[in-house]
Each structure stands twice: as structure tokens, then as C-alpha cells.
């Protein structure tokens, strides 16, 4: 029995060196908590720039008073090196604490870098033991540095501001989607598909280096940036842009079931309608050697936000449904044409064909020759609380 105890103790002791231990112990106040990472490049010098936005813990906490008054919620460090690997060694020239990127919330890539390639960066993230790839990636229009050095009102930490805006957009519109994480980018690129990432655009150049000034300024938009449009990526490279209107139809065709309110024209009159995708079906078949893709979409309409015109009879409802269906079809076709013209695969046709016919010798050609039909079936499912909008005639009914 004693021997058994001694043996088990020995095995335990032998396992101890394998455990995490004092050697990797880090106190929390030795960490530089990264909230946002930005990647830019300088093709002239052949260098890459990585911006780390580090959270200042003393600024965010209300109970611990920061010495010396108001402090910046984040500090931006700029690192320049010839490769991503080098940055890990160079960073401590400037940074006094251990870089801790496990909690970063947003990754920004400058348009210039995105147009070259983001493959290296994708590899770099996958290489890091505590770097997360489940965070959204956005493209910044123009130079990256001003965005990385911009304070945001309400949400003091800029990455929180961007994440919160993305979440709100996903809930309330079709302008953004959930699948814009780094891992989604890598997955789509490896499957030779396209992905559209949101674009951050600066509103104007006036910006403040003091967070207090931003907080005390009534104009929340001054010097800020907005999320607008999308950057299309093919093969780890940004190859074009979509505007907000195109983003709606892209997300709709991608199967996003978010709500969106848009102005349609029904019987020559403008009508704001809320719509969301109920279901989408994609069918692929071959007719005399040519692929035929049929996309069916069921869309639910609501007049909850309609103040212009409320249909009153069955005929009016039918008419509205028909015209909205046609309008959506038109817009979707337009996006498809654009996608074909630019050799993107926004509708995932190539991916669909490859899945259906994995042995096909030349999917690229087949996709180009594909006949695509989009059929939209819009149904008015919800009525708003307004039966009769106030009109110009005024008074009594």
C-alpha cells in the first residue's frame, strides 16, 4: 500500500512540470489589454504597420480614481516592421507591458493593405496562441492612422463603439451581418468564395486628441467615423466595393433574415415597407450542358413604419406585394449582373455548382454561362397600428 502511494505521488510529481506554473504567471497589472488592432502597409518602404489600441484600465473604472485627472480611455501604439513576426520583438521598444491580445474586439485593415493581400495577416492571427479569430474584421477607407487615433463618444473605447454599432446594424438593418469574423474570411477564401466586409469611413478630418473634448462636444459626428458600404474580397484581396443599397440585396441573397425598412414605389407612390426574408431556396440543374440556378425567396412585408399609403383592399394588397416582389427581383438581378461583370461570386453560385457537381472539370466557365433566375414572393404579413394616415385634407372623416 505504501509502495502504491509512493508510486502515485511520484507520477504526480513527474506531471507537475507539465502544468502551467510560475513560469507563465502574469499579474493583471502587467498586461497591456489590446482592444483593437489595425493593419496598414507602406508599399514604398516595403514595411507593414500594426496599430495596437491598448485599454487604459484606470480610465474606464469609476471606483478607482485616476491620478492626475481625466485620462485617455485607450492609447494607440504604432509598430512598423518588415514582417509580422518582427513586430513581436519590436513592440517592447514602446510598450511597457506584456501584449495581451486575447480580448481584442475589432480588427481593422486599411483599404490599401486589403487591396494588396490579407493572407499574411490571416496566417499571423492563426499562428498566435492567444489571438482570437472570432472577431469582426472591417476595412478602413483611406489611411488607417486617423481612425486608430480617434475617440468615440458614448462608448469610450473605440472598439466597443464599433462592435456595438455592428450589433445594432445587424438587429435593425440588412447593412451588416454576423459572418464577418476573421474565421469567416479565412473559410470563404479557402472555399474560393467572396465575402463582403463593412467599411469604416471617416466623416471629416476634424478630430481631437483629447477624449474629454470629444465627450464634451455636442456634435457627436465631428471627427468620427461611420460604417458604410462593403468591401468585396476574393482570394484574400479586396477587389471592389458595394454601396449601402447593394449591401441590402447582398445580405438578402446571402440568406440574412434581418429586418430592414426601405422606400419602395407602389403604383407610382413611395411607400416605406419593413421586410425580412422568410426563407430562401437555391436550386441548381443542368439544361443542355448549361447550369440553371433558380433562387426562390419568400419575403414578409410589414406596414408597421408606413405612413404614406396603407392598402385597404385585397386588390391593393396584391398589387403592393406584386410590385415589391418585382422591385426586389430587379435589385437582386442588378447585383447579380454586377457580380458577374466583376467576376465576383456574391450569390455563391460557384460554390453551389461545385457542391452539386464536384467532378465538373471547369466550374469557372460553367458559372459564367449559368442562367440565373430569381423569383421573389413578397407577402404582407403584418399591418401597422395606423389604418389611415393623416392627410392634407385635414379634419373629420
Amino acid at each position: 500500500m505504501t509502495l502504491r502511494h509512493a508510486a502515485s505521488l511520484l507520477i504526480l510529481l513527474a506531471a507537475v512540470p507539465l502544468l502551467s506554473s510560475c513560469w507563465d504567471k502574469t499579474e493583471m497589472n502587467q498586461l497591456a489589454l489590446v482592444s483593437m488592432v489595425g493593419v496598414d502597409s507602406d508599399p514604398d518602404k516595403g514595411t507593414i504597420k500594426v496599430y495596437y489600441q491598448i485599454i487604459n484600465p484606470l480610465s474606464g473604472s469609476s471606483t478607482i480614481k485616476a491620478p492626475g485627472g481625466e485620462q485617455a480611455p485607450v492609447y494607440t501604439y504604432e509598430m512598423e516592421a518588415k514582417s509580422f513576426g518582427e513586430i513581436r520583438s519590436q513592440i517592447y521598444k514602446k510598450l511597457p507591458r506584456k501584449l495581451f491580445i486575447a480580448h481584442y474586439k475589432v480588427l481593422l485593415v486599411s483599404e490599401q493593405t486589403a487591396r494588396q493581400s490579407i493572407r499574411d495577416y490571416a496566417n499571423f492571427i492563426e499562428m498566435q496562441p492567444n489571438g482570437r479569430s472570432s472577431i469582426p474584421m472591417l476595412v478602413v477607407e483611406g489611411p488607417l492612422e486617423p481612425v486608430m487615433k480617434t475617440f468615440t463618444p458614448l462608448e469610450k473605447v473605440p472598439s466597443d463603439s464599433i462592435r456595438a454599432r455592428l450589433d445594432q446594424l445587424i438587429q435593425n438593418s440588412l447593412l451588416s451581418e454576423r459572418n464577418i469574423r476573421i474565421t469567416d474570411v479565412i473559410e470563404r477564401m479557402q472555399q474560393s468564395r467572396s465575402i463582403v466586409l463593412p467599411i469604416l469611413t471617416r466623416i471629416d478630418d476634424a478630430r481631437s486628441a483629447k477624449s474629454g473634448e470629444v465627450a464634451s462636444n455636442i456634435d457627436a459626428e465631428q471627427g468620427s467615423f461611420i460604417i458604410s458600404g462593403g468591401a468585396v474580397f476574393q482570394n484574400y484581396r479586396m477587389t471592389g466595393r458595394l454601396n449601402d443599397e447593394q449591401m441590402i440585396w447582398y445580405h438578402l441573397l446571402a440568406g440574412d433574415k434581418g429586418l430592414h425598412v426601405r422606400l419602395f414605389e407602389v403604383e407610382g407612390k413611395p411607400v416605406s415597407l419593413e421586410f425580412h426574408l422568410d426563407q430562401i431556396k437555391r436550386k441548381a440543374s443542368w439544361q443542355s450542358g448549361r447550369p440553371v440556378i433558380r433562387i426562390f425567396m419568400d419575403i414578409e412585408l410589414s406596414t408597421a413604419y408606413t405612413s404614406e399609403y396603407i392598402p385597404k383592399s385585397r386588390n391593393e394588397v396584391d398589387k403592393m406585394e406584386q410590385e415589391v416582389s418585382q422591385a426586389i427581383e430587379r435589385e437582386c438581378y442588378k447585383l447579380y449582373e454586377l457580380s458577374r461583370e466583376r467576376e465576383w461570386d456574391l450569390l455563391g453560385i460557384k460554390y453551389l455548382l461545385r457542391r452539386k457537381t464536384p467532378d465538373h472539370p471547369n466550374i469557372e466557365d460553367a458559372e459564367k454561362n449559368a442562367k440565373v433566375s430569381i423569383q421573389v414572393n413578397a407577402r404582407l404579413k403584418k399591418m401597422g397600428s395606423l389604418q389611415k394616415p393623416y392627410d392634407e385634407t385635414g379634419g373629420g372623416s
Binding site: 504526480l12 506531471a15 507537475v16 502544468l19 502551467s20 506554473s21 510560475c22 507563465d24 504567471k25 502574469t26 499579474e27 493583471m28 497589472n29 498586461l31 489589454l33 482592444s35 485599454i55 484600465p57 484606470l58 474606464g60 473604472s61 471606483t63 478607482i64 495581451f100 486575447a102 480580448h103 474586439k105 492567444n130
Partner: protein, 494 residues
């Protein structure tokens, strides 16, 4: 004093015995000898020797000496019955002097009074002990809201009476034993003969009779001899001052050990999950009892693991902490000079010191201690930059949850475990805690209490007993047969 019959009588006459007793006991101040003479002579008639601190003086005055003087005392033949013998024993002068002396000394320290009757040449031992007991009171360490409020006292007879009051059953057995070479303490092995498994009673009896010790001043003395494994933080016997709890366990077929001079009664066998139950569970509605039981379980894990998990997560696994919390914790750590592990250790040790001081200090200084305690463990320490605010919360939470478990001795084991896990967590991180927890689990499943697996009924699984482990089902559905399966199993072993 010279007596005419001195030479004819036994040598002890004329006060030799009294003198010898006095010298044997070291002439204590409470030893009294009252002498009655034959009227109008100097001849000794009666000597009454007693320890005044042990006897009821009124009985001696009113009944013994008065009766003697009225000559009623000495008349008639004493009845022979066991009861009478307990009260009244007679020895003749003719017996060997040495034996008489020894008996007399023993009787004195047991609280009897010695009458040396020169007229009839006999020595009588009269039991006039005055019981020095406190009244039956509510147990201080195990207070209850609903249910009986009586607690055991230091008198074993009173205690057995309290049990009989609850179990009016002829099968209730009290087996007396005397343990302690010096203290000669009376111990009762108590059980219900029809319910308790023979093998369990035999085992307890043999363990009790194997005890070789000089004194038993509390049941805890016996607990160390009786427990299955000495080197384990977990008690394999439980102790209580509540008669209702002992009665409940006896009715479950368990055995109890009562010790004279202490209100603490030992109960065996006991399993791990029984430490989370309390007799009060059965005095409340089933749903509330279940809720409270879960609270106790959560409290156990909180008390044992929270400090170590906090240290491990904040020193090794910051990735696990939600971002906002990490920022907040990180802000609190700014400017704190000590590592988290040292911070927590200091605070935990301070808390234990304050708690220990609070248990034993005089009441008058209580207020001073609570003020100082609040400063040491509170905001002042945080503001001085010595510790971070979150540590105060961690220590406070563990401190409170430690008291939730109904059995105090189990709470003590939690304290030991907490410190062990704290050290492991501080040096080896979550992985270390996991290894420690697995070791602890292995230890728990290997433990047995009087042949009953400690983790029963979870492992080995006893489906029927699950009704009273994590949930307490309403009484009508609870054990229709009467006994828990583990005890049934022991019974079948016989």
C-alpha cells in the same frame, strides 16, 4: 482524643480513617468531618465525612444527621435492592482497613458522604451527590428556527432522558462503558436494537473497547480513536448537540456515542452528502428544503474553490475573464504591490485570525475587534493600496459561505481545503486545481465510514436514496421502508 474502647476496637476507630483520607486527598478545603458523640460522654458515635463541593448539604443535615440523632436512622434492616445499593452501601469495620480506606476515598470523590457508625461498627456510603448541571438550553452552535430548541447538557442521564423523550421504544439501547484510565468517564453506546445493523453495533463496540486513553473530556477525544482514517480532512463521524438530530439518525439505523460531561454526541456512520442535510430540512416544506440544500452545496463549492479560481484566473488565464470584468479587475490592481496569491493569502489568514479571536475573546472587547476587523478586511485596506477591492469581496464571500454548512466540523475541513487549493491555484493555475479536485474526488470515493462508502448514495449509486440527496422529496414519498439503502445493505451483510 482518648477513647476507652479504643484498644478493643478496630484500629481505624478514633479517627485514623479520617486522618488517612485527609492525607490521601491532600487535606482539601472542601473536605468536612462532622462528629457526633454519645450523649454526655466523649465517646465517638458517628463521623460524617464529605466533600462539600460535591454533595447536597441540606440532605445530610435534614435527613442523615437528624435521623441519626432521632435514632430512626439506625433502626431496622436496610432493604436489599439494586436501587438501595446505589444509594446506600454498608461495610463492616471487620473488613480489611486498606480496602475500606480505598472505597471511602473513591466514594468521596464520586460525591458520596461517608458515615462511620461507631455504635454498629460499620461504614456507610450514602449517595447525596448534588448534580451540578446547567439546565437544558438551546445549543449555541446549532440554533434552529423551526423545530425543537432543546439541546444536550453535560449530564449523560439528562441526555439519555432527552432521547427517550423522543423515541419511546423499548428497543432503544444505552450500553454503558467506562473509558479513561484516569478520568473514568461514562460513555453510552446508543442505538435502536431493531433498526441498527448488528455489524455496525459490534464494530462500534469493539472500537470503543479498544480505546486506551487516560481521559475523555469531550466526545472529540473519542472521535479521533473511532474515525476510519486519521489523515483525512473529512470527518467520518458527525457530532451534534441536538437530541432531535441524534433521534433522527438513530431512527435511520445508525449508532450514537454519548459521553458524560459533554453535550456533544457522536453519530456514525455518516456520508458526504449528509453534511449538507440538517434536521431542519424535514421541518420545512420539501421545495424550500431542496432549495436550501442546493444553497449549501453551492456554498461548499464557493467556500472551497472561489479564492483559488480567482487567483488562477487572474494570474494564468486572463483570457477566461470577460473583457469588462478584466478591465475593472486590472484597474483595481493598479498600484497594488503584492501578487494576487499573496494578497488573497494575507486576507484569508487575517480573516481566520479575526474569526478565531472572535470565538474566544471576552465579550467586552467584541466591539473593538469588529471595528479593527472591518478596517483590516475592508475599505481602509483597499484605500491604503495594500489590497485590491475585489479581494475583499472574494474573502467575504468565502467567509460567509463557509458558515452555511450545518456541521461545524465539516466547515473546518472546508477551511483546510480552501487553503490547499489556493496554494495549488496560485502555483499551478486551473490545471493544478483540476488535478487537485480529481485527487480530492479520488480520496472521497476511497473513504468509508464504518463500512459505508463516504460518497453513497451517489457512488456506489443507490437509486432509492437519491430522493434525499440533492432534492428532498415530500415526506409521503420518502423511504416508505424506513431505512436508507446503505444501512439496509449493512444489515444484509450480517
Amino acid at each position: 482524643m482518648v477513647h476507652s474502647r479504643k484498644d478493643k476496637q478496630h484500629p481505624l476507630i478514633s479517627g485514623d480513617l479520617v486522618r488517612d483520607i485527609m492525607s490521601a486527598l491532600g487535606s482539601p478545603p472542601d473536605l468536612f468531618c462532622r462528629t457526633l458523640y454519645v450523649p454526655d460522654t466523649e465517646q465517638l458515635a458517628l463521623q460524617c465525612v464529605y466533600l462539600e463541593s460535591m454533595i447536597d448539604k441540606k440532605t445530610i443535615d435534614d435527613y442523615i444527621l437528624k435521623s441519626y440523632m432521632e435514632s430512626t436512622f439506625a433502626e431496622g434492616k436496610s432493604p436489599h435492592s439494586e436501587e438501595w445499593d446505589n444509594f446506600w452501601r454498608e461495610r463492616s469495620f471487620a473488613e480489611p482497613y486498606h480496602s475500606l480506606k480505598e472505597q471511602a476515598i473513591q466514594a468521596l470523590i464520586e460525591g458520596q458522604c461517608i458515615l462511620i457508625d461507631y455504635k454498629k461498627e460499620r461504614i456507610c456510603f450514602v449517595n447525596v451527590t448534588f448534580p451540578k448541571d446547567r439546565p437544558i438550553d438551546e445549543p449555541k452552535s446549532e440554533s434552529t428556527i423551526r423545530g425543537p430548541h432543546e439541546g444536550f447538557t453535560e449530564n449523560i442521564l439528562v441526555n439519555s432522558g432527552l432521547l427517550r423523550k423522543r423515541i419511546r421504544n423499548p428497543n432503544l439501547r444505552f450500553e454503558p462503558m467506562v473509558i479513561g484510565n484516569q478520568s473514568k468517564t461514562t460513555v453510552y453506546l446508543t442505538y435502536l436494537q431493531n433498526l441498527a445493523p448488528d455489524v455496525l453495533v459490534r464494530e462500534m463496540r469493539s472500537r470503543l473497547s479498544a480505546i486506551q486513553t487516560d481521559s475523555v473530556l469531550d466526545s472529540a477525544y473519542l472521535e479521533e480513536f473511532l474515525q476510519d482514517r486519521i489523515w483525512s480532512p473529512f470527518p467520518t463521524l458527525t457530532n451534534t448537540e441536538r437530541p432531535d438530530m441524534v433521534a433522527a439518525h438513530l431512527l435511520d439505523g445508525k449508532v450514537a456515542v454519548m459521553v458524560d460531561g459533554t453535550p456533544g454526541v457522536l453519530i456514525a456512520p455518516i456520508t458526504f452528502f449528509e453534511f449538507f442535510t440538517s434536521p431542519e430540512d424535514y421541518y420545512q416544506r420539501a421545495d424550500i428544503a431542496t432549495f436550501i440544500r442546493w444553497l449549501r452545496l453551492i456554498s461548499f463549492f464557493t467556500a472551497v474553490f472561489v479564492p483559488s479560481l480567482y487567483v488562477a484566473a487572474t494570474t494564468f488565464h486572463q483570457e477566461l475573464i470577460p473583457t469588462q470584468l478584466l478591465i475593472s479587475l486590472s484597474a483595481q490592481r493598479e498600484g497594488v504591490p503584492l501578487p494576487v496569491l499573496v494578497e488573497v493569502l494575507i486576507m484569508e489568514i487575517m480573516f481566520e485570525i479575526i474569526r478565531e479571536a472572535g470565538l474566544r475573546m471576552p465579550r467586552a472587547v467584541g466591539q473593538a475587534l469588529s471595528i479593527v476587523g472591518a478596517i483590516v478586511l475592508g475599505q481602509a485596506a483597499v484605500e491604503a493600496g495594500l489590497i485590491s477591492a475585489s479581494i475583499v469581496i472574494v474573502v467575504a464571500v468565502t467567509g460567509i459561505t463557509n458558515f452555511v454548512v450545518p456541521v461545524y466540523s465539516f466547515g473546518m475541513s472546508q477551511r483546510l481545503l480552501r487553503f490547499s487549493f489556493l496554494i495549488i491555484g496560485g502555483f499551478l493555475g486551473l490545471f493544478g486545481i483540476l488535478c487537485g479536485a480529481l485527487l480530492l474526488l479520488a480520496h472521497l470515493v476511497s473513504l468509508k465510514s464504518f463500512g459505508v462508502p463516504y460518497m453513497a448514495p451517489v457512488t456506489p449509486a443507490q437509486g432509492s436514496d437519491w430522493k434525499d440527496v440533492l432534492v428532498r422529496v415530500p415526506r409521503p414519498y420518502l423511504r416508505p421502508r424506513g431505512l436508507p439503502s446503505v444501512i439496509e445493505r449493512l444489515k444484509r451483510k450480517h
